[in-house]
């Protein structure tokens, strides 16, 4: 049946049952009424979720219109199309789920008048004919209510939404879905992505990165160094846990320097919080801090993360403006659109992030050194920059698996306060840093369409997942809270066991689902679209073999210490601020456009050479993004979803044309080759699903050759 498609996040073509819709529609209309919805829908509820009101309605604004039920619970508003329960194997609906916190604006339409609903009670003399829910994630749901005796229900559900939304501002402790609730099999299941909650995960990842000078520290196993830090992290080999504990005390909120990523060329990317200037460390502590920052390199670059990047308030303001601009009824004239877009500054911020990330990748790649990202809180832009740097320099991070692990490691485990930043705990510290990151990734995807294994749809799915209350991934502020919650849910979980080393099977901890369990909310056809068909295996990690690097520890103080700021390196006398002068980073730098930067790119400084060598290739694996005005684009498929008249992106069209041809070929082959060998059978799929063309080509080739031979 048809759901999604134009105007929605996915590109799924209507399937064969689609024509039936029209005829079925009328028959099914009374159905939800006759049934007791709470009983049939209850099984789809999250733990602790209650249905407050429901009414039959018709989704409008897109072709074809879709009839179903609009349900309001204490967590979310959801629209369930008729027949959806029978055809989808996903327990949750991804297209029409609006978490209460996600509702940005609510409008009711009656006749020609349109009322914006703010408070309960503003609806007294008004039976809505249609309700418009504007999501803060730029989605729009228009549901029309049928006339004919159902007005009270429509009224009720509208009131319920208004009320529930007003109450949802208090932080709700969503508990997430547990495995049993999701109706999945028994507990012997590994999470699709390492959640970085066990020491093994960290050790595996460390080995994968070949970071030989580093070890997994268990010092924070009980979250007593910092609740916002993960239980495990990487510290230099030679530093003792006791030294780590002492050194971390001199950083803001105990977030001392840790390894983020080890470049196969030998450089290390570190992140840490600001120096805690009030503390008075002794000589040994300072030495420990310095050793950790130095990480055995003679060349150390301290990057002031906040410099040239927007503040949290800036990000929030830009996002609000962008949302206002992208509303379907925004009053901006067509010919003023560009300056209005510029006025939101959102693209400027995207640009600033890309520029800085590109600079840092150059720093990490050009020489073997230690590069430290330092942000006061170490929980927002540090994560953004370190993830972007890894995306730019490590082909591994550009795979689906790699990207999800990256987000899990640098954002979820590293303690990005998702709940606060996404407005879950009130508006005061709201700032969609993660969404800014996703926009940056989308820009990279646009610029390097062949270098990413995942597609725009995947990014959209991730974008839409941040406020959905089904998993804990994005609904907690710290790893500690996340662990506490899962501990409560599963009373016998050994959350606080030191040396956590049980096999995954039988460990109830693993029953906790994460956002990476995509089959919770997305159908197989949708998940197939997460793959970028244009991903070119020529650039894939296989061909990129990291060369083992000598782990040379340089004894003594580093020979050169630099501060990277305003796109330039300035020498620093010392790494730590406590010795005599106040911290350089204590001075908060506001985001300003770099004055006529340009004339000198960092790469030129770093590699400072005459430019006559002609176009020789970049080192394999490194991407350098464009960040000029004309190159940074608006993520239309995401931000303009609410506008029915703006057609969704066109990126996949050429490829889908080829896919058509491939499936046609496949059809032909199948006709002539009725006998299908067992190995082919395993790869055979439903003809209606969107196929990954590379695979098809592979299959076809294999078959054709087999037949010929």
């Amino acid at each position: 049946m048809w759901w999604g498609g134009r105007g929605q996040s996915f590109n799924i073509a209507p399937q064969k049952e689609e024509p039936e819709m029209g005829s079925v529609q009328e028959n099914r209309m009374p159905e939800p009424r006759s049934r007791q919805p709470s009983s049939c829908l209850a099984s789809r509820c999250l733990p602790g979720e209650q249905i407050l009101a429901w009414a039959p309605g018709v989704r409008k604004g897109l072709e074809p219109e879709l009839s179903g039920t609009l349900i309001c619970t204490n967590f979310r508003v959801t629209f369930q199309p008729c027949g959806w329960q029978w055809n989808q194997d996903t327990p949750l609906n991804s297209e029409y789920d609006f978490a209460l916190v996600n509702i940005g604006r609510l409008e009711a339409v009656s006749g020609l008048s349109r009322v914006q609903l703010l408070r309960p009670g503003s609806l007294h003399k008004f039976i809505p004919e249609e309700i418009l829910i504007h999501g803060r994630d730029f989605r729009l749901l228009r549901v029309g209510f049928e006339a004919g005796g159902l007005e009270p229900q429509a009224f009720q559900v509208t009131m319920a939404i208004v009320q529930a939304r007003a109450q949802s501002n208090q932080a709700q402790q969503y508990s997430g879905i547990t495995l049993s609730k999701a109706g999945q099999g028994s507990g012997s299941r590994k999470p699709p992505i390492p959640l970085m909650e066990t020491a093994e995960d960290w050790e595996t990842e460390r080995k994968k990165q070949a970071a030989r000078g580093w070890r997994v520290s268990t010092v924070n196993e009980r979250f007593d160094v910092a609740t916002s830090l993960p239980r495990y992290f990487w510290v230099p080999n030679r530093i003792l846990d006791s030294e780590v504990r002492r050194a971390y005390g001199h950083f803001h909120q105990g977030r001392g320097p840790r390894l983020s990523w080890h470049h196969p060329g030998g450089s290390d990317l570190l992140r840490c919080g600001g120096f805690y200037t009030a503390s008075d460390p002794n000589k040994e502590d300072i030495r420990a801090v310095e050793l950790m920052l130095q990480a055995g390199h003679s060349d150390v670059v301290l990057v002031d993360t906040m410099d040239e990047l927007p503040s949290l308030a800036d990000v929030q303001l830009a996002h609000l403006r962008l949302r206002a601009l992208c509303l379907p009824d925004s009053s901006v004239a067509e010919d003023k659109w560009l300056s209005a877009l510029e006025g939101t500054r959102w693209l400027d911020y995207v640009r600033a992030c890309l520029r800085k990330a590109s600079d840092i990748s150059v720093l990490v790649t050009s020489r073997v050194r230690s590069v430290i990202l330092q942000e006061r809180g170490d929980r927002d832009l540090n994560g953004l920059l370190s993830s972007l740097v890894q995306l730019l320099s490590a082909p591994e991070a550009r795979t689906l698996f790699g990207f999800q692990s990256l987000v899990q490691r640098e954002w979820v485990a590293a303690g990005h306060p998702f709940l606060t930043r996404l407005g879950g705990t009130g508006a005061s510290e709201e700032a969609p840093v993660f969404l800014l990151f996703l926009d940056c990734v989308w820009q990279l995807l646009q610029q390097f369409p062949a270098d990413f294994e995942f597609s725009e749809f995947f990014l959209l799915a991730l974008h839409d997942s941040v406020r959905v209350p089904d998993t804990l991934t994005f609904l907690r502020n710290t790893p500690w809270e996340r662990g506490k919650q899962s501990g409560q849910l599963n009373s016998y979980t050994q959350v606080y066991t030191p040396g956590y080393s049980q096999p995954p099977a039988g460990n109830s901890f693993n029953l906790q689902l994460s956002v990476w369990d995509w089959d919770l909310r997305y159908s197989n056809a949708q998940i197939l679209q997460f793959q970028n068909p244009g991903y070119d295996p020529e650039h894939c990690p296989d061909s990129w073999l990291p060369r083992p690097q000598p782990s040379f520890m340089v004894p003594g103080p580093p020979s050169s210490v630099w501060l990277f700021s305003r796109g330039a390196l300035t020498p620093l006398n010392q790494l730590c601020p406590w010795r005599d002068s106040p911290s350089l980073l204590a001075v908060s730098s506001r985001w300003l456009p770099r004055p006529a930067i340009s004339s000198e790119s960092l790469a030129d400084q770093e590699w400072g050479l005459p430019s006559h060598w002609g176009a020789c290739p970049l080192p394999p694996g490194l991407l350098l993004p464009g960040y000029l005005g004309p190159q940074i684009r608006l993520w239309r498929r995401c931000y303009l979803r609410g506008r029915p008249e703006v057609q969704m992106g066109l990126s996949a069209l050429t490829v889908s044309g080829l896919q058509d041809e491939l499936s046609h070929l496949q059809e032909l082959l199948r006709k002539w080759t009725p006998r299908i060998s067992p190995e082919d059978h395993s790869k055979k799929r439903d003809p209606h699903t969107i196929l990954n063309p590379t695979e098809i080509a592979g299959i076809l080739k294999g078959r054709a050759e087999g037949d010929l031979g």
């Binding site: 072709e63 470049h263 196969p264 450089s267 067509e334 010919d335 560009l338 300056s339 209005a340 510029e342 693209l347 790649t365 050009s366 020489r367 390097f448 369409p449 270098d451 070119d536 650039h539 060369r547 690097q549 340089v554 330039a568 456009p593 006529a596 004339s599 790119s601 790469a603 030129d604 400084q605 590699w607 400072g608 430019s611 006559h612 002609g614 290739p617 970049l618 080192p619 991407l623 350098l624 464009g626 000029l628 005005g629 004309p630 608006l634 239309r636 029915p644 008249e645 057609q647 066109l650 050429t654 490829v655 044309g657 080829l658 002539w672 063309p693 080509a697 080739k701 054709a704 050759e705």
Partner: protein, 693 residues
């Protein structure tokens, strides 16, 4: 390095501020001069091309970030182009030669491509024209294809400077006679032997047969007829020798006002409604003449209002629509955003990119054109009305709007051949004054209006929004736009077919649109790149437009309802015209700006992948066919394209010509093996080892 000098400080952290001044030390020049003499770079001349003047020891600046580098060489001016000879051609690798332009080299500027010439006197930039009293130390040339060249003349002998500067200014800026166009010397010298391929050829619309064929194709032959009343340009010189008018129209009417006031057929829709154009009658003061004009027009209108003709809607393009003046102003503002003398300038505009773009209102003009075309499409498609376009000469906006309408409604026009035929029909035969609008003769700057470029930009928006609907790609459009300034093709160098016929006697001349040079691309790149230009995915478009039974009486409804349905690429095609949807034709406008380059990225990254998949599909197809027919067909090797070029830049295929990219290109030495481990720790420069060891 031969013939190359490096100017300014190295790329250290304290590089000097960029400026127009060069700081070459005399001894540097001295050594370089010697080297220059050792090497002879030959000037390639086209048949009929003559060297006019030259100057040696000219320093060509290479756009760079931090400091200004230059290459020494000879600057020559011929009657076809300005060329700089300095680069060692043999240094080009295979890929570069493969995609090299066959006519215009990297450092060649055709005389018609020159837009503005500036001289720098004591660090002040001044426009150069006419007789000069003082000669500049630096020459900056802005090209119409948006390249910018900077030549330093400080080390050139004084007489040579005088000769070359005045030569260049004279040959590019001074008004010229039509007869002096290089086109003619080329045509006489290059007696091309034309091989006509009867299939697959562009319809030229220079015979009665071509028009009849078009009438038949669009099923317009019931109500319209091709007439040969203007054969030999007896009636007027503005109109082509053959054209199409409503069947009942008496031929003597055409002669009354030299073809003015006559509804001329452009195209017929599947539902029978037609697009017509009419040039306005001359403005007269005399009441008597006005009376005659009125009754004449009444007669005309009576003819086309009567059944079988549909209701006629008249669109007056000269009063209620864009003015040519507006287009000219907008484009001259717009192009300044891309004509960049140095990177600092570029970065200054970068911060306010969107508002600058908006203030040029070029994109808004594109939107208005597309909107007008949609309105007309709505009238024809939904309301079944005839539309009569009215313009003073019916040769500017008429051409633009009618071509756009046909492109949206007629899938045939979205094939490459169909598109070329469309340009031939509406623009070349439609009498668009290419000579004046491109100002090829430099006779009147006010007449220079980029109407055709505006059209190509509108088409680009359509191609960009609906790539699978077109057989050609944006690269095709970019190359087509470049061929406006290459005077070996006669297509875009005349004001009317009459002017061309009376001036060109060699009919066998290479035209970009004729069968002998079936695509301008073919003239530009080698044949192997054919795939890139021709969109392989655009399938054979042969179906007729699906008939739509809805009748909407309103543009918005028509537009919305079309966009809310899934697109049929073989049917009616409408562009999006909302604010966020009209974009900058980045390939054309940004291709020469090294900062805008994305190494290993951009569209071409997926393109090569797609081509690879296409090859695979093709080979599978062959295997299937072979199996199916149980025949042994010879294995056709698919063209091996782009295989060996590992990572192309986003500016491909133009970027390969842009050899001096400023984006961090790593030093080859930096990626060499680093020696053994012990050395490594001691070395001050720890370059990361990622090279092939």
């Amino acid at each position: 390095m031969l013939g190359k000098g490096v100017v300014g400080g190295g790329g250290g952290t304290k590089a000097p501020k960029p400026s127009f001044v060069s700081y070459v030390r005399p001894e540097e020049i001295h050594t370089n001069e010697k080297e220059v003499t050792e090497k002879e770079v030959t000037l390639h001349l086209l048949p009929g091309e003559q060297l006019l003047c030259e100057a040696s020891t000219v320093l060509k600046y290479v756009q760079e970030d931090s400091c200004q580098h230059g290459v020494y060489g000879r600057l020559v001016c011929t009657d076809f182009k300005i060329a700089f000879l300095g680069d060692d051609e043999s240094a080009l690798d295979n890929d570069e030669t493969q995609f090299k332009n066959k006519v215009i080299g990297e450092n060649d500027i055709t005389l018609h491509c020159v837009d503005q010439i500036y001289g720098v006197f004591d660090e002040k930039k001044k426009t150069l024209f006419g007789q000069l009293k003082k000669y500049p130390e630096k020459l900056i040339i802005h090209c119409k294809d948006l390249r910018v060249f900077q030549f330093c003349l400080r080390y050139t002998k004084e007489e040579e400077v005088k000769r070359i500067v005045s030569g260049i200014i004279h040959h590019t800026q001074a008004p010229k006679l039509l007869k002096r166009l290089f086109l003619f010397s080329y045509a006489t010298a290059a007696q091309n032997n034309t091989v006509t391929d009867p299939k697959n050829h562009t319809v030229m619309f220079d015979t009665l047969k071509d028009w009849c064929w078009e009438l038949e194709r669009t099923k317009g032959n019931m109500k319209y007829k091709a007439v040969s009343v203007n054969e030999g340009y007896k009636v007027c010189e503005r109109l082509p020798a053959y054209f199409v008018v409503p069947t009942p129209l008496p031929e003597e009417n055409v002669q009354r006002f030299q073809g003015h006031g006559i509804p001329i057929w452009c195209w017929s829709c599947h539902n029978g409604s037609a697009l017509l154009k009419m040039s306005a009658l001359p403005k007269e003061q005399d009441d008597g003449i006005l009376q005659i004009q009125k009754s004449f027009l009444d007669g005309i209108y009576k003819t086309i209002h009567r059944p079988p003709y549909e209701v006629v809607k008249t669109e007056d393009l000269s009063s209620n629509f864009l003015s040519l003046q507006e287009i000219q102003t907008a484009y001259s503002k717009f192009k300044q955003l891309f004509l960049i003398d140095n990177s600092t300038e570029f970065w200054d505009t970068d911060i306010k990119w969107f508002s600058l773009l908006e203030s040029s209102s070029w994109l808004d003009i594109i939107r208005r054109c597309l909107k007008k075309a949609i309105e007309i499409t709505e009238c024809m498609e939904a309301q079944n009305m005839n539309v009569l376009l009215l313009e003073e000469n019916a040769s500017d906006l008429c051409c633009l709007i009618s071509s756009l309408v046909q492109l949206m409604m007629d899938p045939h026009c979205r094939t490459r051949i169909g598109f070329q035929s469309l340009i031939q029909k509406e623009w070349v035969m439609g009498g668009h004054c290419f000579l004046d609008r491109c100002n090829h003769l430099r006779q009147n700057d006010k007449e220079e209006v980029p109407v055709f470029l505006l059209f190509l930009d509108c088409v680009w928006q359509l191609v960009h929004q609906h790539p699978p609907a077109f057989e050609f790609t944006e690269t095709y459009l970019t190359v087509l736009s470049d061929s406006l300034y290459i005077p070996i093709f006669s297509t875009f160098f005349f004001n009317s077919p009459h002017q061309k016929d009376t001036n060109m006697h060699q009919r066998q001349l290479s035209l970009p649109l004729t069968q002998s040079k079936s695509s301008p691309k073919r003239g530009f790149f080698r044949e192997e790149t054919d795939h890139l230009i021709k969109n392989l995915l655009g399938k054979r478009i042969s179906k007729l437009i699906n008939s739509s039974d809805e009748l909407q009486d309103n543009f918005r409804e028509f537009y919305d309802s079309w966009h809310s349905k899934s697109t049929d690429y073989h049917g009616l095609l409408l562009p999006h015209i909302e604010g966020p949807e009209i974009k900058v034709w980045a390939q054309r406008y940004l291709r020469w700006i090294p900062e805008a380059q994305i190494l290993g990225g951009g569209q071409v990254a997926t393109m090569s992948k797609l081509l690879e998949m296409m090859e695979e599909v093709q080979s599978l197809q062959e295997k299937i066919d072979e199996r199916h027919h149980s025949q042994q067909a010879p294995q056709a090797e698919g063209p091996c394209l782009l295989r060996n070029s590992a990572r192309l830049s986003s500016l491909f295929p133009f970027a390969l010509l842009q050899r001096h990219s400023s984006k961090p290109v790593l030093p080859t030495s930096g990626w060499k093996a680093l020696g053994d481990e012990d050395d490594l720790a001691k070395r001050e420069d720890e370059f990361v080892d990622l090279g092939d060891v």
